[in-house]
Subunit: 190 residues, 2 copies
Amino acid sequence: MRADARRNREAIVAAARAAFDRDEQLRFDDFADRAGVGVGTLYRHFPTREALAAAVYQGEVIALCERARASTRSAGEALESFLRGFVDYVLAHAALARVLADLVTPDVQVTGGSELERTIAELMARAAAEGVIRDDALPGAVMIVLHGIGSSIDRPHWPRESRAAIELLLDGLGPDHRDGEVDSSRTSGT
Amino acid sequence: MRADARRNREAIVAAARAAFDRDEQLRFDDFADRAGVGVGTLYRHFPTREALAAAVYQGEVIALCERARASTRSAGEALESFLRGFVDYVLAHAALARVLADLVTPDVQVTGGSELERTIAELMARAAAEGVIRDDALPGAVMIVLHGIGSSIDRPHWPRESRAAIELLLDGLGPDHRDGEVDSSRTSGT
DNA sequence: GCATTAAGTGGAGATTGTCTCCGTTTGATA
DNA sequence: TATCAAACGGAGACAATCTCCACTTAATGC
């Protein structure tokens, strides 16, 4: 890769990161201006807005994933803290939430997305092997909840509700309800 | 309302319902062509794509909601069957999923959305009063999961994963884990 | 150094989808 | 059947995305 190409690419990513961090809503072409390059250059490096967002966050997401997979804690703890940590990270980076949809939908060729799902699947498998979560839970179901968190950013109480959703999910993952659901046997006549 | 206005409005809704049912991805202006009216007429009746989608689905969603609230079954059963039923309905109407985002984000002036959330809140309150779900669960957290289901439509195993997500949610709502989460006390050394 | 050239650049303008505006038509009312 | 406010239609303004290609520049060989 030629030196000027790399320089431009990095300038674009840096400009995009700055804009995302302030949660600015920019037209795609504006990222080119911000980086001081032409739109042609922008499009050559990043064919879509999602590709750009991925370049900005891929590193961080993958780092989170690797930290979790390398964790020496029990599988249950690793899974719990990964999910809570991921949600905290998303809450702190609204722009990531706005593109999480694409990180989560695997059809796009974005490494961060499949990496996220792979990590969750691995942590769940380990936790299930330890018996601390049910062994019939689908990683995809967890992805769907994360997706919901990412795309609910415009709700008034987004952070609180997101954390609540994760807690419900973690509870639901517990090993004690292979049958369960809402405990209808307790139904009183009220 | 003038007769021709009503006729046009109904023609637009009918055309939109037909297009949605086939999950066609139309430009907004095309709904006007399909209904045989001008774009001006389309925009006067439905300022946004979401308003149109709401007109198509509001009735059905509100009907689902009212049926659930009128249910004479125990609150736990009503909540369970409402959530499962709603997901089934969404799975059967992909186009609804695509606009669920807006039905779920309350800033938009769409009656169906707040109606959905109000229904969930009410069913949850009743179930909590009966003691069949925890009383500290936020309706918003449930909305987030529904939102996730709606916006995960492009995932390969969307239906299965969506149902799995609802089951996890229902399990998590159960009354037995006021503390809980993943049961770390069971952690073995493995 | 200096030519060669493939890789890279920039931005004008094509394209596409959304939305507005206003001259014309039509249904309701008396 | 005259009146007029309500409703209509669609040309075209507008906004965002994306392509294309004439020009520039870094790398390579001599």
